[in-house]
Amino acid sequence: MTKTRLLLRKDLRILSRSPVLVAALIVYPLVFAALVGAVVRYAGDRPTIAFVDLDHLPEQLTVGGQTFNVPEVLAQVNENAELVPMDQEEADRKLANGEVNAEIIVPRGFASRLRGMVESPQLELKTARGGIASRVEQQTQALVYELNQRLQDAYIDANLQYVNLIVEGGTGTFLGNEFDVVGLQRAGELLAEIEQTTKDPAIAEQARELSTFVRQAQLALGASDKSLRATANPIKLEVDTEAGRSWLLSAQLQAYALALTLAFICVLLAAAAIASERDENVIGRLARGLVGLTNLVVVKVALAALVAVVLGLVIALVFGALVTVFDVTGGEPWERLPLLGFGLVIAGAAFGAFGVLVGVVAREARTAVLVAFLVALPLVLLGLLPDGTVQAAHVISKAFPFSHAVDFFQSSLYDNDPWSTLAREAAWLAGLAVAFGAAARLGMRRLLA
């Protein structure tokens, strides 16, 4: 048995003798993950909405003589929600497993119905149950309201043209067919002529009646401008709130729970473990040829990685069991667990290496735990900020394993084609593990002084 394995086994034995500490280390990050997840999903983050365009909307859409720039309209929506174009199959899958919060579907024939202005075309909104669903629905209703307002003018102008055509007469088009309209005005004139020229009193009487109707119609249609402008919401929204899984079991929350647990447990554990070697005065005994200082760093990183993979898989199994038992939409991707396990190992190693560095700097175990917590907490929170909100926070969080771990876990569990994301995040995590480990090794002599 190598010396590294001997020390690793010793650390695990010591850890197993502190069950209360282990329980606290597990429970605390999970509770924290749930709270942070709730805060992020309810307040901080823009909801991610899948945008399924079955009608292949053109860039320029002309309705009632008004031209809409479709990408520009979507960009306006992006201020309040992240609209991600994708096909229906992918959108359904992502909604089912919680990677997106909702799905907006533009059905086939939407643009032609809109242009035709005869009936209101429908957008379809699918959301998950509970949690953020109501917020997504509000966002989407706001979007539709905004579109309706812009379309309303075009509709009214177009409808008024028909009204004017009926009142004044002329040539118009309807559903692509051109036709001549006499118009109420000319009809009134013709009826007056008939009334004056006819010798048949019955026909004269009928002409008078028709003239009266034409005048009434003219009066009524004269007010149509105001009544038409009072017409609103030409687009109706159909909402299906049963299409996705509860946010408590969503892909995003699973990834956060795993990464948060690892961020705290691995950093605190590695920091305390390395500083304890000094507190117990053992590091000098080990360093005098029994175990190299590099080996000692490797042992603590390996300890963190081992604990990470065990705890991470337990958490994943609990999530999976809940999803399976309650037959949650989307199901649990059990076949992805080995991939997740690999991510847990490298993420645990990266967090562990960071923890060792903290322990080396702090030197004393209690100080190391406190410093590790104080350092890890803001770095984790930085990683929770949505991309693009604070650029500096985004850059700083990239230098800490948390955001990479979240992306790795989410992608490893639920992405259809996760390989490019996994390769990128694995490279980041491995690079951070090596960088923090090397920095810790440079500082190890501090523990001997």
Binding site: K3, K10, R13, I14, E280, V282, L286, A287, A449
Partner: protein, 196 residues
């Protein structure tokens, strides 16, 4: 140092005794100079008893002994642990080291240093927390090392132990060597007695 030597390091607090022993043990690098040691053209096996106990508090004495024996490359770890538990009268009831008395912890500290059969034994104020019987036991163990043609270097503040056990005395003050000679020379040089 020669086989059978017992070098006493004395000096006031902060003189550098513990630092020198740490350097001799290989736990610290010297800021200047070097340590040269050879037994039969190889480095000697060194056992080090630091001033503060250096073992794992949340392991039992037996677990500590077996772990350090394995790290030292000792093959029959259980037998070796049995031997030192018996020799130094260590408790073997599964209690964690943290629950032991200071004296028991110090004896475990000594036992860990003896695991590899050291040819040079470095003792840093080893009797500070031991009762008279345990002190006698410790010096018996140190004498056995000398009798095996080994050498002992010990730091002490106790002149009685120095006179009883040392063959040579080195006096350190503020990191400087101010005296180095035999026990007889030390006794004849009252200026070397920094505690006077």
């Amino acid at each position: 140092m020669h086989p059978g030597d017992a070098l006493a390091l004395i000096g006031p607090n902060g003189a550098g005794k513990s630092t020198l022993l740490s350097i001799l043990a290989g736990a610290l690098d010297p800021s200047d100079g070097s340590v040269a040691a050879s037994v039969n053209h190889r480095g000697p096996k060194v056992g080090w008893v630091p001033q503060k106990p250096a073992h794992y508090q949340r392991l039992s004495p037996r677990e500590n002994l077996e772990l350090f024996a394995r790290l030292e490359g000792v093959s029959e770890t259980k037998e070796v642990a049995d031997r030192y538990i018996g020799l130094l009268d260590l408790p073997d009831d599964g209690r964690l080291t943290a629950e032991l008395s200071a004296g028991n912890q110090q004896r475990l500290n000594v036992a860990v240093a003896l695991l590899a059969g050291p040819e040079v034994l470095l003792l840093d104020e080893p009797t500070a927390s031991l009762d008279p019987r345990q002190r006698r036991l410790l010096w018996q163990v140190a004498t056995q090392v000398r009798e095996r043609q080994g050498a002992v270097v010990f730091a002490t503040q106790n002149l009685e132990e120095l006179e009883r056990f040392a063959t040579r005395v080195a006096v350190l003050v503020g990191g400087e060597l101010v005296f180095d000679g035999s026990l007889e020379q030390f006794k004849a040089a009252p200026e070397a007695d920094v505690f006077a």
